[in-house]
């Protein structure tokens, strides 16, 4: 399947791309656009204005980031993914809904990467980062404490 998102890799987009490739569509091909009008037919857009796989505000005024929306839409209930969702949420929205101090570091890291590498390169680099974060939290959940 083809997927599209806006150019300029950021924490939410990076997380979504990783999530899509690892848990939804292993053959996912990604396209980076600068305008919603550039999304071709038969392409699923995410983390951009005007598309479903994006930010959503509930009736209570609480905002979800795109990573959280994708977990909801694809019924992904893996608690480790939801742990990562809280991190992406705070790194992206920074609304202090969750207490995830490492979110700020993640945001800085990916923000920095977006300054020195192309979106295609960062697709690869950030996937590795998210692989690592997923493994870390998977082990933490199994051990019930911080893994070494």
């Amino acid at each position: 399947m083809k997927w599209a998102t806006r150019a300029g890799m950021h924490v939410d987009r990076a997380g979504c791309a990783w999530l899509i490739r690892r848990f939804i569509d292993a053959q996912a091909q990604f396209l980076f656009v600068t305008d919603p009008g550039q999304v071709p037919a038969h392409t699923t857009a995410f983390d951009m204005r005007g598309v479903d796989l994006s930010h959503h505000t509930g009736t209570d005024g609480a905002e979800d980031c795109s990573f959280e929306t994708i977990l909801h839409r694809y019924d992904l209930s893996d608690p480790v993914l939801w742990q990562l969702a809280r991190m992406v949420h705070e790194a992206d929205l920074d609304d202090e809904r969750y207490d995830v101090p490492e979110a700020r570091g993640l945001d800085t890291l990916i923000r920095g990467l977006s300054m020195v590498a192309t979106d295609e390169q960062n697709l690869h680099t950030t996937a590795l980062i998210f692989d690592g974060l997923y493994e870390y939290h998977r082990r933490a959940a199994l051990l019930g404490r911080e893994p070494a």
């Binding site: 950021h10 204005r49 930010h55 505000t57 905002e63």
Partner: protein, 166 residues
């Protein structure tokens, strides 16, 4: 890459139904958190960069979700004076926030060490929040940071309450 320009702004123009009032409050609270400059009723601005543009786009999306209308514009003020006016308003708003921190830090200065550290941690969190929306840092920023740092590190002045140095 989209680079920030000193005189380039991203504008959000929006319209929300009068009732219910909750969405209006939600949107306004979010805009306040971003530190926008209010140009007119329901017209706000931030210095343009990739991040601020995206932040305002999400709010536009939120407005649409609440049944309102919103549009995003990239704009430059037609005069230097106008630019200065908008910047001054933003600087004044942040200065006010830093002064609050300075005030709270001064009030906590006489507390015992543990309490002071607790207040310092809270004020540091507050400073982090202010920093995110501080696009034109005033002198009060450094003063506030210094005051909170001093609060966290100063030796205990309360007689008898201090621990012996190791």
């Amino acid at each position: 890459m989209f680079m920030a320009r000193a005189d380039s702004w991203v504008l959000l123009s929006y319209r929300l139904p009068r009732d219910p009032s909750t969405p209006r409050i939600t949107v306004w609270r979010n805009l306040k958190r971003l530190g926008v400059a209010q140009l007119a009723d329901a017209l706000v601005a931030l210095p343009a960069d990739a991040r601020t543009r995206e932040q305002l786009e999400w709010i536009a999306e939120q407005v649409a979700g609440f049944g309102g209308e919103a549009s995003i514009w990239l704009a430059r003020p037609a005069s230097l004076a106008l630019h200065g006016q908008v910047v001054s308003a933003m600087v004044a708003a942040r200065t006010e926030e830093y002064r609050e921190v300075l005030h709270e830090a001064a009030e906590a200065a006489g507390l015992e060490e543990r309490e002071r550290r607790r207040v310092a941690a809270r004020l540091n969190a507050k400073l982090r929040r202010i920093k995110r929306r501080d696009f034109f840092p005033p002198a009060e920023r450094d003063q506030a940071h210094a005051a909170v740092h001093a609060l966290a590190t100063a030796a205990d002045v309360t007689p008898g309450a201090g621990r012996a140095p190791r």
